[in-house]
Protein backbone atom coordinates (compact mmCIF):
# COMPACT_ATOMS: atom_id res chain seq x y z
CA UNK A 1 0.00 0.00 0.00
CA UNK A 2 2.75 2.45 0.92
CA UNK A 3 4.61 1.95 -2.35
CA UNK A 4 1.43 2.28 -4.35
CA UNK A 5 0.52 5.51 -2.62
CA UNK A 6 4.05 6.75 -3.11
CA UNK A 7 3.87 6.30 -6.88
CA UNK A 8 0.43 7.91 -6.91
CA UNK A 9 1.92 10.76 -4.99
CA UNK A 10 4.85 11.17 -7.34
CA UNK A 11 2.53 11.25 -10.37
CA UNK A 12 0.28 13.80 -8.69
CA UNK A 13 3.32 15.74 -7.52
CA UNK A 14 4.74 15.93 -11.05
CA UNK A 15 1.50 17.51 -12.18
CA UNK A 16 1.56 20.04 -9.34
CA UNK A 17 5.17 20.73 -10.19
CA UNK A 18 4.43 21.43 -13.86
CA UNK A 19 1.61 23.76 -12.92
CA UNK A 20 3.61 25.44 -10.17
CA UNK A 21 6.45 26.23 -12.57
CA UNK A 22 4.09 28.39 -14.62
CA UNK A 23 3.06 30.28 -11.49
CA UNK A 24 6.57 30.78 -10.33
CA UNK A 25 7.90 31.91 -13.73
CA UNK A 26 5.25 34.58 -14.14
CA UNK A 27 5.72 35.70 -10.56
CA UNK A 28 9.48 35.84 -11.05
CA UNK A 29 9.16 38.16 -14.01
CA UNK A 30 6.34 40.54 -13.17
CA UNK A 31 5.62 39.82 -9.49
CA UNK A 32 2.07 38.77 -10.27
CA UNK A 33 0.21 35.80 -8.83
CA UNK A 34 -1.45 34.75 -12.06
CA UNK A 35 -4.71 33.33 -10.77
CA UNK A 36 -5.81 32.56 -14.30
CA UNK A 37 -3.07 29.93 -14.49
CA UNK A 38 -5.31 27.14 -13.15
CA UNK A 39 -7.75 27.85 -15.95
CA UNK A 40 -5.00 27.75 -18.54
CA UNK A 41 -4.44 24.22 -17.24
CA UNK A 42 -8.13 23.50 -17.93
CA UNK A 43 -7.95 25.08 -21.40
CA UNK A 44 -4.92 22.89 -22.16
CA UNK A 45 -6.87 19.77 -21.19
CA UNK A 46 -9.83 20.76 -23.34
CA UNK A 47 -7.70 21.62 -26.34
CA UNK A 48 -5.89 18.29 -26.11
CA UNK A 49 -9.21 16.50 -25.84
CA UNK A 50 -10.54 18.40 -28.86
CA UNK A 51 -7.39 17.51 -30.74
CA UNK A 52 -7.97 13.82 -30.10
CA UNK A 53 -11.74 13.54 -30.50
CA UNK A 54 -12.62 16.22 -33.02
CA UNK A 55 -9.48 16.61 -35.09
CA UNK A 56 -8.42 12.95 -34.90
CA UNK A 57 -4.89 13.83 -33.98
CA UNK A 58 -2.32 11.40 -32.71
CA UNK A 59 -1.93 11.61 -28.96
CA UNK A 60 1.45 13.33 -29.07
CA UNK A 61 0.26 15.80 -31.69
CA UNK A 62 -2.86 16.57 -29.68
CA UNK A 63 -0.70 17.11 -26.63
CA UNK A 64 1.53 19.57 -28.49
CA UNK A 65 -1.58 21.20 -29.95
CA UNK A 66 -2.93 21.72 -26.43
CA UNK A 67 0.38 23.19 -25.25
CA UNK A 68 0.68 25.53 -28.23
CA UNK A 69 -2.95 26.61 -27.96
CA UNK A 70 -2.57 27.34 -24.26
CA UNK A 71 0.64 29.27 -24.95
CA UNK A 72 -1.37 31.45 -27.30
CA UNK A 73 -4.01 31.93 -24.61
CA UNK A 74 -1.25 32.88 -22.18
CA UNK A 75 0.11 35.52 -24.53
CA UNK A 76 -3.37 36.90 -25.19
CA UNK A 77 -4.08 37.10 -21.46
CA UNK A 78 -0.80 38.92 -20.87
CA UNK A 79 -1.53 41.29 -23.72
CA UNK A 80 -5.21 41.99 -23.10
CA UNK A 81 -5.63 41.58 -19.35
CA UNK A 82 -2.28 42.51 -17.80
CA UNK A 83 -0.24 44.70 -20.06
CA UNK A 84 -2.76 47.63 -20.25
CA UNK A 85 -2.63 47.99 -16.45
CA UNK A 86 0.95 46.97 -15.97
CA UNK A 87 1.96 50.27 -14.38
CA UNK A 88 -1.09 50.37 -12.11
CA UNK A 89 -0.80 49.26 -8.47
CA UNK A 90 -0.37 45.49 -8.06
CA UNK A 91 -3.88 45.05 -6.65
CA UNK A 92 -5.41 46.08 -10.00
CA UNK A 93 -3.52 43.42 -11.92
CA UNK A 94 -4.48 40.94 -9.24
CA UNK A 95 -8.16 41.75 -9.73
CA UNK A 96 -7.69 41.50 -13.45
CA UNK A 97 -6.21 38.02 -12.93
CA UNK A 98 -9.25 36.87 -10.97
CA UNK A 99 -11.53 38.34 -13.64
CA UNK A 100 -9.58 36.51 -16.33
CA UNK A 101 -9.98 33.26 -14.42
CA UNK A 102 -13.76 33.68 -14.24
CA UNK A 103 -13.84 34.63 -17.90
CA UNK A 104 -11.89 31.54 -18.95
CA UNK A 105 -14.12 29.20 -16.94
CA UNK A 106 -17.23 30.61 -18.58
CA UNK A 107 -15.57 30.69 -21.97
CA UNK A 108 -14.90 26.96 -21.63
CA UNK A 109 -18.49 26.30 -20.58
CA UNK A 110 -19.69 28.19 -23.65
CA UNK A 111 -17.45 26.33 -26.06
CA UNK A 112 -17.28 22.84 -24.59
CA UNK A 113 -20.35 22.81 -22.37
CA UNK A 114 -20.55 22.72 -18.56
CA UNK A 115 -20.74 18.95 -18.16
CA UNK A 116 -17.81 16.63 -17.54
CA UNK A 117 -16.40 15.07 -20.68
CA UNK A 118 -14.75 11.71 -20.75
CA UNK A 119 -11.19 11.50 -21.98
CA UNK A 120 -10.80 8.53 -24.33
CA UNK A 121 -8.50 5.66 -23.41
CA UNK A 122 -5.48 6.66 -25.39
CA UNK A 123 -2.84 4.75 -23.51
CA UNK A 124 -3.12 1.13 -22.55
CA UNK A 125 -2.72 1.06 -18.83
CA UNK A 126 -0.58 -1.77 -17.46
CA UNK A 127 0.77 -2.05 -13.98
CA UNK A 128 4.45 -2.66 -13.51
CA UNK A 129 6.06 -3.85 -10.33
CA UNK A 130 9.70 -3.12 -9.70
CA UNK A 131 11.42 -3.75 -6.36
CA UNK A 132 8.10 -3.48 -4.62
CA UNK A 133 7.38 -0.24 -6.42
CA UNK A 134 4.07 -0.31 -8.27
CA UNK A 135 3.46 2.07 -11.11
CA UNK A 136 0.99 2.19 -13.96
CA UNK A 137 1.86 3.11 -17.53
CA UNK A 138 0.04 6.40 -17.13
CA UNK A 139 1.98 7.28 -14.02
CA UNK A 140 5.21 6.56 -15.85
CA UNK A 141 4.04 8.67 -18.80
CA UNK A 142 3.24 11.54 -16.45
CA UNK A 143 6.60 11.28 -14.71
CA UNK A 144 8.47 10.94 -18.01
CA UNK A 145 6.72 13.89 -19.63
CA UNK A 146 7.34 16.03 -16.58
CA UNK A 147 11.04 15.18 -16.49
CA UNK A 148 11.37 15.87 -20.21
CA UNK A 149 9.59 19.21 -20.07
CA UNK A 150 11.43 20.35 -16.96
CA UNK A 151 14.78 19.40 -18.51
CA UNK A 152 13.99 21.40 -21.65
CA UNK A 153 12.85 24.34 -19.56
CA UNK A 154 15.93 24.25 -17.36
CA UNK A 155 18.13 24.14 -20.44
CA UNK A 156 16.32 27.11 -21.99
CA UNK A 157 16.45 29.18 -18.81
CA UNK A 158 20.05 28.39 -17.91
CA UNK A 159 21.89 28.08 -21.19
CA UNK A 160 20.22 30.13 -23.90
CA UNK A 161 20.06 33.82 -24.54
CA UNK A 162 16.26 33.87 -24.15
CA UNK A 163 16.62 32.30 -20.73
CA UNK A 164 19.34 34.75 -19.82
CA UNK A 165 17.07 37.60 -20.90
CA UNK A 166 14.33 36.15 -18.70
CA UNK A 167 16.61 36.01 -15.70
CA UNK A 168 17.84 39.55 -16.39
CA UNK A 169 14.28 40.82 -16.62
CA UNK A 170 13.28 39.16 -13.38
CA UNK A 171 16.26 40.61 -11.54
CA UNK A 172 16.14 44.18 -12.79
CA UNK A 173 13.66 45.08 -15.49
CA UNK A 174 14.90 48.62 -16.05
CA UNK A 175 18.53 47.63 -16.36
CA UNK A 176 17.57 44.78 -18.70
CA UNK A 177 15.74 47.23 -20.94
CA UNK A 178 18.69 49.58 -21.04
CA UNK A 179 20.96 46.68 -21.96
CA UNK A 180 18.95 46.17 -25.13
CA UNK A 181 16.51 43.51 -23.98
CA UNK A 182 12.96 43.88 -25.22
CA UNK A 183 11.37 43.14 -21.87
CA UNK A 184 7.81 43.15 -23.20
CA UNK A 185 8.72 40.30 -25.46
CA UNK A 186 10.39 38.49 -22.60
CA UNK A 187 7.20 38.81 -20.56
CA UNK A 188 5.13 37.31 -23.39
CA UNK A 189 7.61 34.48 -23.87
CA UNK A 190 7.44 33.75 -20.16
CA UNK A 191 3.66 33.62 -20.26
CA UNK A 192 3.83 31.35 -23.30
CA UNK A 193 6.28 28.92 -21.68
CA UNK A 194 4.50 28.89 -18.32
CA UNK A 195 1.11 28.40 -19.94
CA UNK A 196 2.28 25.56 -22.15
CA UNK A 197 3.64 23.72 -19.08
CA UNK A 198 0.36 24.32 -17.28
CA UNK A 199 -1.51 22.97 -20.30
CA UNK A 200 0.69 19.88 -20.35
CA UNK A 201 -0.24 19.28 -16.71
CA UNK A 202 -3.93 19.71 -17.50
CA UNK A 203 -3.77 17.30 -20.40
CA UNK A 204 -1.95 14.72 -18.28
CA UNK A 205 -4.55 15.03 -15.54
CA UNK A 206 -7.30 14.63 -18.12
CA UNK A 207 -5.67 11.40 -19.24
CA UNK A 208 -5.05 10.20 -15.70
CA UNK A 209 -8.54 10.76 -14.28
CA UNK A 210 -10.24 10.41 -17.70
CA UNK A 211 -12.35 13.50 -17.09
CA UNK A 212 -12.22 17.08 -18.31
CA UNK A 213 -14.54 19.83 -17.08
CA UNK A 214 -14.54 23.65 -16.97
CA UNK A 215 -13.89 23.98 -13.22
CA UNK A 216 -11.11 21.39 -13.16
CA UNK A 217 -8.40 24.04 -12.92
CA UNK A 218 -9.58 25.78 -9.79
CA UNK A 219 -8.34 23.51 -7.00
CA UNK A 220 -5.15 22.37 -8.80
CA UNK A 221 -4.45 26.06 -9.48
CA UNK A 222 -4.59 26.76 -5.76
CA UNK A 223 -2.52 23.69 -4.95
CA UNK A 224 0.09 24.60 -7.52
CA UNK A 225 0.24 28.07 -6.06
CA UNK A 226 0.87 26.51 -2.65
CA UNK A 227 3.54 24.26 -4.17
CA UNK A 228 5.22 27.34 -5.66
CA UNK A 229 5.13 29.14 -2.30
CA UNK A 230 6.44 26.10 -0.41
CA UNK A 231 9.37 25.81 -2.78
CA UNK A 232 10.05 29.55 -2.71
CA UNK A 233 8.10 31.57 -5.23
CA UNK A 234 10.18 32.71 -8.17
CA UNK A 235 12.44 29.65 -8.02
CA UNK A 236 11.91 26.97 -10.69
CA UNK A 237 13.67 24.12 -8.83
CA UNK A 238 11.69 25.23 -5.78
CA UNK A 239 8.41 24.83 -7.66
CA UNK A 240 9.40 21.29 -8.66
CA UNK A 241 10.37 20.36 -5.12
CA UNK A 242 7.23 21.95 -3.71
CA UNK A 243 5.05 20.10 -6.21
CA UNK A 244 6.53 16.72 -5.37
CA UNK A 245 6.29 17.35 -1.61
CA UNK A 246 2.65 18.33 -1.98
CA UNK A 247 1.74 15.38 -4.18
CA UNK A 248 3.43 12.75 -2.04
CA UNK A 249 2.20 14.05 1.30
CA UNK A 250 -1.34 14.42 -0.03
CA UNK A 251 -1.43 10.85 -1.29
CA UNK A 252 0.09 9.42 1.84
CA UNK A 253 -2.10 11.60 4.03
CA UNK A 254 -5.22 10.56 2.16
CA UNK A 255 -4.27 6.91 2.54
CA UNK A 256 -3.16 6.88 6.17
CA UNK A 257 -5.11 9.68 7.80
CA UNK A 258 -8.32 10.27 5.88
CA UNK A 259 -9.05 11.09 2.28
CA UNK A 260 -11.44 13.78 3.48
CA UNK A 261 -8.45 15.77 4.76
CA UNK A 262 -6.67 15.71 1.40
CA UNK A 263 -6.92 19.45 0.78
CA UNK A 264 -6.45 20.35 4.42
CA UNK A 265 -3.11 18.53 4.41
CA UNK A 266 -1.85 20.75 1.60
CA UNK A 267 -2.65 23.87 3.56
CA UNK A 268 -1.19 22.49 6.78
CA UNK A 269 2.11 21.84 5.01
CA UNK A 270 2.01 25.36 3.63
CA UNK A 271 1.46 26.88 7.07
CA UNK A 272 4.18 24.73 8.64
CA UNK A 273 6.78 25.64 6.01
CA UNK A 274 5.89 29.31 5.98
CA UNK A 275 6.25 29.41 9.77
CA UNK A 276 9.74 27.93 9.66
CA UNK A 277 11.04 29.44 6.45
CA UNK A 278 8.91 32.35 5.23
CA UNK A 279 10.71 32.61 1.88
CA UNK A 280 10.00 28.96 1.01
CA UNK A 281 12.37 26.01 0.86
CA UNK A 282 14.57 27.23 -2.00
CA UNK A 283 13.54 30.86 -1.98
CA UNK A 284 15.93 33.65 -1.22
CA UNK A 285 15.08 35.95 1.59
CA UNK A 286 14.89 39.44 0.17
CA UNK A 287 16.60 41.99 2.32
CA UNK A 288 14.69 45.21 2.40
CA UNK A 289 16.90 48.18 1.82
CA UNK A 290 16.25 50.85 4.37
Amino acid sequence: MFMEQLSNGIALGSIYALTAIGFTMVYGIIRLINFAHGDIYMIGAFLTLTGITLLNMHLVMAFLFGMAGAALFGILIAKLAYSPIFKAPRINIFLSAIGTAIFLENFAMLIWGPETQAFPDVIQNNVYTFLGFRASTLQLVILGTTILLVTVLTYVVQYTKIGRAMRCTSQDMDAARLMGINTNRVVYITFALGSSLGAAAGALVGMYYKAVFPMMGFVPGLKAFIAAVIGGIGSIPGAMLGGIIMGVSESLGAAYISSGYRDAIAFIILIAIILIKPSGLLGKAVKEKV
Partner: protein
Protein backbone atom coordinates in the same frame (compact mmCIF):
# COMPACT_ATOMS: atom_id res chain seq x y z
CA UNK B 1 32.85 61.26 -38.05
CA UNK B 2 30.10 62.98 -36.10
CA UNK B 3 28.49 60.42 -33.82
CA UNK B 4 25.93 62.57 -32.11
CA UNK B 5 24.76 66.08 -32.71
CA UNK B 6 22.20 67.98 -30.66
CA UNK B 7 20.88 71.29 -31.94
CA UNK B 8 19.31 73.89 -29.66
CA UNK B 9 17.88 71.37 -27.23
CA UNK B 10 15.31 72.69 -24.82
CA UNK B 11 13.48 70.54 -22.33
CA UNK B 12 10.83 72.04 -20.12
CA UNK B 13 8.96 70.34 -17.30
CA UNK B 14 5.92 72.59 -16.94
CA UNK B 15 7.35 76.04 -16.34
CA UNK B 16 10.82 74.80 -15.41
CA UNK B 17 13.46 74.90 -18.11
CA UNK B 18 15.61 71.93 -17.19
CA UNK B 19 17.70 72.27 -20.34
CA UNK B 20 17.74 75.52 -22.23
CA UNK B 21 18.89 75.87 -25.82
CA UNK B 22 21.94 73.61 -25.58
CA UNK B 23 24.06 72.67 -28.59
CA UNK B 24 26.19 69.58 -28.28
CA UNK B 25 28.17 67.23 -30.45
CA UNK B 26 30.54 64.33 -30.08
CA UNK B 27 32.87 62.95 -32.73
CA UNK B 28 34.16 59.47 -33.28
CA UNK B 29 36.89 58.48 -30.81
CA UNK B 30 36.43 61.45 -28.50
CA UNK B 31 36.02 61.44 -24.74
CA UNK B 32 33.68 64.24 -23.81
CA UNK B 33 32.67 65.01 -20.24
CA UNK B 34 29.49 66.66 -19.16
CA UNK B 35 29.85 68.43 -15.84
CA UNK B 36 27.88 70.85 -13.74
CA UNK B 37 26.70 71.42 -10.18
CA UNK B 38 23.80 69.37 -8.77
CA UNK B 39 20.54 70.17 -10.51
CA UNK B 40 22.29 71.64 -13.54
CA UNK B 41 20.26 69.50 -15.93
CA UNK B 42 22.92 66.90 -16.76
CA UNK B 43 20.68 63.90 -16.31
CA UNK B 44 17.81 65.49 -18.22
CA UNK B 45 20.13 66.35 -21.06
CA UNK B 46 21.52 62.83 -20.97
CA UNK B 47 18.01 61.40 -21.20
CA UNK B 48 17.11 63.69 -24.08
CA UNK B 49 20.14 62.82 -26.17
CA UNK B 50 19.55 59.13 -25.57
CA UNK B 51 15.93 59.39 -26.68
CA UNK B 52 14.38 58.52 -23.31
CA UNK B 53 12.83 61.99 -23.05
CA UNK B 54 11.64 63.93 -26.02
CA UNK B 55 13.04 67.44 -26.30
CA UNK B 56 10.50 70.26 -26.04
CA UNK B 57 12.30 71.83 -28.96
CA UNK B 58 15.47 71.12 -30.88
CA UNK B 59 16.73 68.05 -32.64
CA UNK B 60 19.13 65.20 -31.88
CA UNK B 61 20.95 63.39 -34.65
CA UNK B 62 22.64 60.07 -34.00
CA UNK B 63 24.91 58.82 -36.79
CA UNK B 64 23.34 61.36 -39.14
CA UNK B 65 19.78 60.25 -38.48
CA UNK B 66 17.18 62.04 -36.44
CA UNK B 67 16.73 60.34 -33.08
CA UNK B 68 13.10 59.84 -32.20
CA UNK B 69 11.77 59.12 -28.76
CA UNK B 70 12.16 55.36 -28.50
CA UNK B 71 11.99 52.53 -26.05
CA UNK B 72 15.20 51.95 -24.10
CA UNK B 73 15.99 48.62 -25.77
CA UNK B 74 15.63 50.16 -29.21
CA UNK B 75 18.11 52.86 -28.27
CA UNK B 76 20.59 50.23 -27.16
CA UNK B 77 20.10 48.46 -30.44
CA UNK B 78 20.81 51.69 -32.33
CA UNK B 79 24.20 51.75 -30.65
CA UNK B 80 24.09 53.72 -27.41
CA UNK B 81 25.37 51.65 -24.49
CA UNK B 82 25.38 52.91 -20.93
CA UNK B 83 26.29 52.26 -17.35
CA UNK B 84 24.40 53.43 -14.29
CA UNK B 85 25.13 55.87 -11.53
CA UNK B 86 24.09 53.23 -8.99
CA UNK B 87 25.46 49.91 -10.12
CA UNK B 88 22.74 47.73 -11.55
CA UNK B 89 24.19 44.34 -12.28
CA UNK B 90 22.03 41.24 -12.45
CA UNK B 91 22.54 40.09 -8.91
CA UNK B 92 22.25 36.32 -9.10
CA UNK B 93 24.27 35.87 -12.28
CA UNK B 94 27.96 35.33 -12.71
CA UNK B 95 30.21 37.98 -14.18
CA UNK B 96 30.35 36.07 -17.46
CA UNK B 97 26.57 35.75 -17.69
CA UNK B 98 26.09 39.43 -16.95
CA UNK B 99 28.33 40.32 -19.85
CA UNK B 100 26.72 37.74 -22.12
CA UNK B 101 23.35 39.35 -21.45
CA UNK B 102 24.62 42.52 -23.10
CA UNK B 103 24.84 40.67 -26.41
CA UNK B 104 21.10 40.04 -26.47
CA UNK B 105 20.26 42.79 -28.94
CA UNK B 106 23.01 41.73 -31.37
CA UNK B 107 21.85 38.15 -31.80
CA UNK B 108 18.87 36.52 -33.44
CA UNK B 109 18.00 33.20 -31.80
CA UNK B 110 14.28 32.98 -31.14
CA UNK B 111 12.36 30.81 -28.70
CA UNK B 112 12.02 27.99 -31.20
CA UNK B 113 15.76 27.87 -31.78
CA UNK B 114 16.39 27.96 -28.05
CA UNK B 115 14.01 25.12 -27.17
CA UNK B 116 15.16 22.79 -29.92
CA UNK B 117 18.82 23.78 -29.63
CA UNK B 118 19.24 24.26 -33.38
CA UNK B 119 22.81 24.32 -34.71
CA UNK B 120 22.40 28.00 -35.52
CA UNK B 121 21.36 28.79 -31.96
CA UNK B 122 24.29 26.79 -30.58
CA UNK B 123 26.74 28.54 -32.85
CA UNK B 124 25.37 31.90 -31.82
CA UNK B 125 25.59 30.98 -28.15
CA UNK B 126 29.22 30.03 -28.69
CA UNK B 127 29.92 33.37 -30.34
CA UNK B 128 28.25 35.25 -27.49
CA UNK B 129 30.47 33.43 -25.04
CA UNK B 130 33.63 34.11 -27.02
CA UNK B 131 32.81 37.78 -27.33
CA UNK B 132 32.13 37.98 -23.59
CA UNK B 133 35.43 36.24 -22.81
CA UNK B 134 37.23 38.67 -25.08
CA UNK B 135 35.72 41.61 -23.19
CA UNK B 136 36.62 40.01 -19.88
CA UNK B 137 40.17 39.75 -21.04
CA UNK B 138 40.19 43.36 -22.23
CA UNK B 139 38.92 44.61 -18.88
CA UNK B 140 41.21 42.28 -16.92
CA UNK B 141 38.35 40.37 -15.34
CA UNK B 142 39.09 36.90 -16.67
CA UNK B 143 39.92 35.38 -13.27
CA UNK B 144 36.63 36.68 -11.85
CA UNK B 145 34.39 35.31 -14.57
CA UNK B 146 32.60 32.63 -12.55
CA UNK B 147 32.01 34.69 -9.46
CA UNK B 148 28.64 36.17 -8.67
CA UNK B 149 28.79 39.73 -9.92
CA UNK B 150 27.49 41.24 -6.67
CA UNK B 151 30.09 39.48 -4.55
CA UNK B 152 32.90 41.47 -6.19
CA UNK B 153 34.39 44.63 -4.71
CA UNK B 154 32.81 47.87 -5.84
CA UNK B 155 35.51 48.83 -8.31
CA UNK B 156 35.24 45.48 -10.06
CA UNK B 157 31.47 45.72 -10.24
CA UNK B 158 31.86 48.95 -12.18
CA UNK B 159 34.22 47.20 -14.54
CA UNK B 160 31.68 44.45 -15.09
CA UNK B 161 29.06 47.05 -15.81
CA UNK B 162 31.29 48.70 -18.36
CA UNK B 163 32.02 45.33 -19.92
CA UNK B 164 28.31 44.63 -20.14
CA UNK B 165 27.72 47.99 -21.84
CA UNK B 166 30.57 47.25 -24.27
CA UNK B 167 28.95 43.89 -25.03
CA UNK B 168 26.01 45.74 -26.57
CA UNK B 169 28.54 46.92 -29.21
CA UNK B 170 27.88 50.62 -28.73
CA UNK B 171 28.82 53.35 -31.18
CA UNK B 172 28.56 55.71 -28.24
CA UNK B 173 29.34 54.66 -24.68
CA UNK B 174 27.74 56.65 -21.89
CA UNK B 175 29.25 56.44 -18.43
CA UNK B 176 27.04 57.91 -15.73
CA UNK B 177 29.33 58.89 -12.85
CA UNK B 178 31.77 56.01 -13.29
CA UNK B 179 33.84 57.04 -10.26
CA UNK B 180 30.95 57.65 -7.86
CA UNK B 181 31.74 56.23 -4.44
CA UNK B 182 35.25 55.14 -5.34
CA UNK B 183 38.40 55.66 -3.34
CA UNK B 184 41.47 57.39 -4.71
CA UNK B 185 43.22 54.32 -6.06
CA UNK B 186 40.02 52.97 -7.61
CA UNK B 187 39.52 56.35 -9.28
CA UNK B 188 43.00 56.14 -10.70
CA UNK B 189 42.24 52.69 -12.09
CA UNK B 190 39.04 54.01 -13.61
CA UNK B 191 40.92 56.85 -15.29
CA UNK B 192 43.29 54.35 -16.86
CA UNK B 193 40.43 52.11 -17.87
CA UNK B 194 38.48 54.87 -19.61
CA UNK B 195 41.63 55.85 -21.51
CA UNK B 196 42.15 52.23 -22.51
CA UNK B 197 38.57 51.94 -23.78
CA UNK B 198 39.00 55.12 -25.75
CA UNK B 199 42.23 53.83 -27.30
CA UNK B 200 40.26 50.87 -28.57
CA UNK B 201 38.22 53.35 -30.62
CA UNK B 202 35.08 53.72 -28.54
CA UNK B 203 33.46 57.13 -28.38
CA UNK B 204 32.71 57.99 -24.78
CA UNK B 205 30.52 60.50 -23.03
CA UNK B 206 31.08 60.81 -19.28
CA UNK B 207 29.00 62.49 -16.64
CA UNK B 208 31.15 62.94 -13.58
CA UNK B 209 31.62 65.07 -10.49
CA UNK B 210 35.19 64.15 -9.81
CA UNK B 211 37.25 66.93 -11.38
CA UNK B 212 40.52 65.07 -11.23
CA UNK B 213 39.07 62.22 -13.27
CA UNK B 214 37.35 64.57 -15.70
CA UNK B 215 40.48 66.65 -16.27
CA UNK B 216 42.54 63.51 -16.67
CA UNK B 217 40.55 61.88 -19.42
CA UNK B 218 38.58 64.41 -21.40
CA UNK B 219 39.32 65.72 -24.87
CA UNK B 220 36.58 68.23 -24.34
CA UNK B 221 34.40 69.32 -21.45
CA UNK B 222 30.90 70.76 -21.57
CA UNK B 223 29.64 72.60 -18.51
CA UNK B 224 25.96 73.02 -17.71
CA UNK B 225 24.49 75.30 -15.08
CA UNK B 226 20.78 75.89 -14.49
CA UNK B 227 20.05 74.23 -17.82
CA UNK B 228 22.32 76.49 -19.83
CA UNK B 229 25.61 75.58 -21.39
CA UNK B 230 28.01 78.02 -19.78
CA UNK B 231 31.28 76.74 -21.19
CA UNK B 232 32.85 74.24 -23.53
CA UNK B 233 36.49 73.52 -24.24
CA UNK B 234 39.62 71.62 -23.35
CA UNK B 235 40.33 70.81 -19.67
CA UNK B 236 42.82 73.71 -19.46
CA UNK B 237 40.31 76.21 -20.84
CA UNK B 238 37.59 75.00 -18.50
CA UNK B 239 39.84 75.25 -15.45
CA UNK B 240 40.50 78.90 -16.19
CA UNK B 241 36.98 79.84 -17.26
CA UNK B 242 35.59 82.41 -14.78
CA UNK B 243 31.99 81.40 -15.43
CA UNK B 244 32.74 77.80 -14.48
CA UNK B 245 34.61 78.82 -11.36
CA UNK B 246 31.77 81.04 -10.23
CA UNK B 247 29.18 78.33 -10.94
CA UNK B 248 31.11 75.90 -8.77
CA UNK B 249 32.50 78.16 -6.09
CA UNK B 250 30.14 81.13 -6.11
CA UNK B 251 30.91 84.66 -7.27
CA UNK B 252 33.66 85.31 -4.72
CA UNK B 253 35.71 82.41 -6.00
CA UNK B 254 36.22 84.01 -9.40
CA UNK B 255 38.43 86.77 -8.11
Amino acid sequence: MRILKAKKITKAFGGLLAVNNVDFHIDSGEIVSLIGPNGAGKTTFFNVITGIHEATSGEVQFLGKKLKKSKPFEITKLGIGRTFQNIRLFASMTVLENIMSGQYCRTHTDLFGAIFATPKAKLEEKKIREKALELLDFLELTDKKDELAVSLPYGYQRRVEIARALATEPKLLLLDEPAAGMNTSEKLDMTKLIRKISEKGYTTLVIEHDMKLVMGISNRIVVLDYGNKIAEGSPEEIQKNPKVISAYLGKGGAQ
